[in-house]
């Protein structure tokens, strides 16, 4: 079935190998492995809730770098440390603004990395699934950001991924983040599709390593075009006392999925992955997390809230693995879903694999509807029903944004409210 697809993708591998010198080896290794594993289908346990058919139905071609383009998208954070703009997966120097960041941090294009540090790029060839492997085989743009020890970048570094969205085009983006000891970085990834974009595919992978006492904050705001496919993975490893804090707002795309894979390798490290997914008609949003505690005394926490309207679909698959030696691990997971309509769908699959005996793990999953009693209480006092529902939805989603700084929180809250306004239910 997938042979024709792979034939097409192999051609692309060779083309790209010609364009990015030194990338041929790693691309080919990844490609061969991808062929071996195949692209995911509904039969794969991890993908069973996703509308993954597009991967098998559509033969994507590598997106083209557009000619000079005006991107009017305003930054999510007015007060940023840097803004890196990618258009169709290609870095756009003119639209970006990062001169100041360069003074403190090493930022360089991914292409350089192939030659200088091939092992690091190679990591995902092993253990990656077909989608990750295809990213490695076909990646075009991305940044390597290395924050030296003890360097704290407080203001966010915003990465805008803007897609013009040519039909059946694909962008495979790869960022590599290296956070030094006691260093910290705050990135906001914003995915935006042009209003007239077609069924393009954005396939993004972030690899991050946070050294001892370092901190990486990673916010994602996904507003791809209405026909788009969006798959994204973050692979993060944490040394002792390191912190990874991730939040997600999933709004756009027809099919979207975020995977957060964290290896907690150092004591007292902490990983949090939060998310809100709002699925309207014919949208499918998935959040999959996989947190592995490998050493004693680390913590993880996940707060995920999803809402599905009629014919919308959301899923949360949360896996926590506690290795035998990882005593005194604390791992919490909270998933709540709202259905606005009986024809909406919410799926939850918490998975705990606990091999240590002295751990504190909790998880909860609920699926429900908006509380009619609360709506009546609000409306009986003079709040109109549309606003009443908005208030309840903001409260419902707020739990998952508690770890987001105030400025971005306000922006996110507005986007959630906007989504509610578009639903027009009351």
């Amino acid at each position: 079935m997938q042979e024709a697809l792979f034939e097409n993708y192999e051609k692309q591998v060779w083309e790209l190998a010609g364009i990015v010198p030194g990338s041929e080896g790693v691309r080919m290794r990844a490609f061969k492995q991808a062929v071996k594993l195949g692209l995911p289908t509904k039969r794969d346990e991890d993908w069973r809730y996703s509308d993954v058919k597009f991967l098998n139905d559509i033969s994507f071609s590598i997106s083209k770098k557009p000619k000079a383009i005006e991107v009017k998208q305003a930054p999510l954070s007015q007060n940023y440390a840097a803004r890196l703009v990618f258009v169709n997966g290609y870095f756009d120097e003119d639209l970006s603004d990062y001169a100041e960041l360069l003074e403190a941090v090493n930022v360089r294009p991914l292409a350089n990395h192939f030659t200088s540090n091939p092992d690091r790029v190679d990591e995902l060839v092993e253990g990656g699934d077909g989608v990750a492997l295809l990213n490695t085989a076909l990646m075009i743009g991305g940044m390597v950001i290395s924050v030296p020890a003890n360097t704290v970048i407080e203001k966010p570094v915003e990465i805008l991924n803007y897609s013009t969205g040519t039909e059946q085009s694909a962008s495979h983006i790869r960022h590599v983040l290296e956070i030094g000891e006691a260093a910290s970085l705050n990135i906001i990834e914003h995915f935006v599709g042009d209003a007239i974009s077609g069924n393009y595919w954005n396939n993004s992978v972030i690899q991050a390593r946070v050294s001892e006492g370092g901190s990486l904050t990673h916010h994602r705001v996904q507003e791809e075009g209405a026909h788009a496919f969006h798959t994204a993975k973050a692979h993060v490893s944490l040394d002792a006392g390191a912190n990874y804090s991730c939040s997600n707002l999933m709004l756009g795309a027809k099919v979207s999925r975020f995977e957060g894979h964290v290896k907690v390798m150092g004591e007292d490290a902490r990983a949090t992955i939060d998310g809100v997914a709002l699925a309207g008609k014919d949208q499918s949003h998935d959040i999959l997390t996989n947190v592995r505690h490998m050493v004693p005394g680390s913590t993880s926490d996940q707060v995920v809230r999803t809402i599905a309207d009629a014919f919308g679909k959301t899923a949360f698959q949360g896996k926590v693995i506690v290795d035998k030696d990882a005593q005194e691990t604390e791992a919490d997971q909270s998933f709540k879903a709202l259905l606005f309509d009986r024809r909406g769908e919410a799926n939850a699959k918490p998975e705990l694999e606990i091999l240590a005996d002295d751990v504190k793990c909790s998880h909860g999953a609920t699926v429900g509807e908006l509380d009619e009693k609360a709506i009546f209480y609000l409306t009986s006092r003079g709040v109109d029903p549309v606003t009443a529902r908005q208030i309840l939805v903001s409260a419902f989603t707020a739990d998952a944004f508690e770890r987001v700084d105030d400025e971005l929180k306000t922006v996110i809250a507005e986007k959630v409210a906007q989504w509610m306004t578009e639903r027009n239910i009351g």
Binding site: D371, L378, R381, V383, A388
Partner: protein, 247 residues
Amino acid sequence: MTMLKIENLHVQVGTTEIIKGLNLEVKAGEVHAIMGPNGAGKSTLASTIAGRDDYEVTSGSVTFQGKDLLDLESHERAGEGIFLGFQYPVEIPGVSNLNFLRTALNGVRKYKGEDEMSAGEFMKLVRAKASDLKMDVDMLKRFVNVGFSGGEKKRNEMVQMAVLDPKFAVLDETDSGLDIDALRIVSEGINAQRRDDTAILLITHYQRLLDYVQPDVVHVLADGQIVKSGGKELALELEEKGYADVA
């Protein structure tokens, strides 16, 4: 002047008829008390007046200052000046009392064609009303009724009433669960709302409240109908003899 007029009201919840041909007329400046056994339909009547949409009015009419209330949605009724003090105030995690109350007040003002109240003015108003009801403003920063004691919830209802300043308040067992001091404070709050241009419908099981807030008319509601009406002495008679002998 008649404020609220209910004629031959029938209300169904699910497939069960709860209100079965009820008549009631309340004039401006009056306080009416409704008493009656558990399950008689008092709260159902209160919710129907406030516009709860899963309570189906199968026949009859409810008019408020000449307007057909049944034509209006719940928030529009609030805009007209109807207020329901809930027997069981709802807890809403994640929503602060102040935010909710400000949105409600501005909703009512918008309905009346008035400008929004500024945050500063609003806070001044809330502080004054909360202090009248001996409620700490800090409590209002918390989530709506979450973690409030039974008595605190009822007092919160009264703060909301005072801020919204309705023309017609239906207070469903606002006195239940209040300690002796709180009952006095809440009663003062109700009396402050008692004016020539307002009316109040008190639903209660106890004479104690009626000692503080003396009603003009007392009704007995049993099995979905008003079965007896009288002056404030009717409440005393009920307390003495029970519903079976009086109604």
